[in-house]
């Protein structure tokens, strides 16, 4: 029997997380601490690849709740925004300006059938690089192919 998180949590189907990821088609994503996803995808990865894999896996996740009363109640995609943290909540800059990625959101997650928690985080820096590379690719194409 896998262990369970000692923090308050809701239960979230991975297909619902996929639907939430789909709502940000231009974002890229980073996973830290999950051997399942990091054995299947190359991170950072774009939204479409992550969403497709979460749908294929189709299994329940536990997501960290901000309310101490959460004890595994089911939630869906609409709840996820309110459960996300941001990096700047956890970094100290000695008064200097936060780096651009500090606004990236992250979710504390746990596969219900596997041990160990992990993080899913937006990677806005990689999304910006990919956007710039797409612009280069489009500019290099002949006009008829754009």
């Amino acid at each position: 029997m896998p262990d369970v998180p000692n923090w308050p949590h809701y239960e979230l189907p991975s297909t619902e997380l996929a639907a939430w990821v789909d709502q940000q088609p231009d974002m890229w994503w980073m996973v830290d601490g999950d051997p399942l996803l990091t054995g299947r995808l190359s991170f950072p990865c774009p939204s479409d690849e992550l969403a497709a894999d979460l749908r294929e896996l189709n299994r329940p996740l536990l997501i960290r709740a901000k309310s101490p009363d959460a004890t595994g109640q089911p939630v869906g995609r609409d709840k996820i925004d309110s459960l996300a943290s941001q990096f700047y909540e956890n970094i100290h800059t000695d008064g200097r300006e936060h780096p651009p990625w500090a606004s990236d959101r992250l979710l504390d997650l746990w596969w219900k059938d596997r041990p160990g928690g992990w993080l899913l985080a937006e990677d806005s820096a990689e999304a910006t690089r990919a956007k710039a590379e797409w612009a280069e690719v489009r500019a290099a194409r002949p006009p008829a192919a754009r």
Binding site: P35, T38, G39, R40, S42, I91, T93, R129
Partner: protein, 291 residues
């Protein structure tokens, strides 16, 4: 205070005890590769962000990051080399007991090293782990022989098909030239600590077919690593699929010739698990087990 007297010989041996268990993904070559490449990348991204956050001395940070990028470049390439070995080992393990030609003759183990191979987990690992897989021609030769039709002198399977020899399939020939450059970059980083010697420069110029300076220090950028990583990831995925399908075809041929050799469904299931692919062996479909 003088340096304390420490038994350094003992301390060096102690390094061997500082280990971690292999992750479960190590049983499946493509999963093992993906996991390792992701781990390397996460470490690099973590350090880069930590440096960026406290960035008071940009020149110093750039120098340290440049060194780390060089290390990550080597690790990514070596993760790919290990993937090739593990894929080859999986092929050997599926074929070893059902085929009697000389295809395994190209793997040689010296008598002096034989004892250590008795500890290897499988015949495939024993034959494939000790050699280096750092050259397109050598890798091609091994997979071609390993996956050739029974009792054929030369196979027709080129893992890295050469555009100069017009090896099939044509749509994979574009990987040959960059793979050659990647192997040589690894050589430069590992054996000369990143110094592109004049002789390295000559080899790289021939491989890349464009001017390359010698007597300079390799200083890969973050974007260089991103592109290397993506190329290796995509190449690993393609290699895994091509080898898995070719092995399934070869096993089908062997079963057609001698139907009692193995049970097709069992073999298809094993292949599907080894390669995480849906494969067909002698009419039986193997589906990858859930992760």
């Amino acid at each position: 205070m003088p340096r304390p007297p420490i038994d350094l010989s003992r301390k060096i041996k102690d390094i061997l005890g500082h280990v971690e268990p292999l992750p479960p993904e190590s049983a499946v070559p493509i999963r093992h590769y993906d996991r390792t490449a992701n781990d390397i990348w996460k470490s690099l991204a973590y350090v880069e962000r930590a440096f960026e956050k406290g960035n008071r001395y940009p020149t110093v940070v750039d120098r340290h990051l440049g060194r780390l990028y060089g290390m990550a470049l080597v690790q990514l390439i070596e993760a790919f080399e290990r993937f090739l070995k593990e894929v080859a080992a999986a092929c050997v393990d599926r074929l070893a007991t059902i085929i009697g030609d000389d295809r395994f003759g190209l793997f040689t183990i010296k008598g002096s090293a034989l004892a250590s191979h008795f500890g290897a987990a499988t015949l495939g690992k024993s034959l494939c782990e000790s050699a280096t897989w750092l050259d397109c021609e050598e890798v091609n030769k091994r997979f071609r022989k390993l996956l050739s039709d029974p009792f054929q002198e030369d196979g027709k399977f080129w893992l890295f098909p050469s555009p100069y020899k017009n090896h099939p399939p044509a749509d994979q020939q574009s990987r040959y030239e960059p793979m050659g450059v990647i192997w040589q970059l690894r050589h430069t980083a590992v054996h000369n600590v990143g110094v592109i010697t004049r002789s390295d420069a000559v080899k790289l110029r021939l491989l890349a077919r464009e001017p390359v300076s010698g007597d300079v220090l390799l200083a890969p950028t973050w974007d260089d690593l991103r592109h290397l990583r993506r190329f290796l990831d995509e190449t690993a995925t393609v290699c895994n699929e091509r080898v898995g399908k070719r092995l399934a075809d070869l096993l089908t041929l062997l079963h057609d010739q001698t139907p009692g050799l193995f049970v097709p469904q069992e073999m298809a299931d094993r292949l599907a698990a080894d390669f995480r692919l849906t494969v067909v062996v002698a009419g039986a479909t193997g589906v990858p087990p859930p992760d």
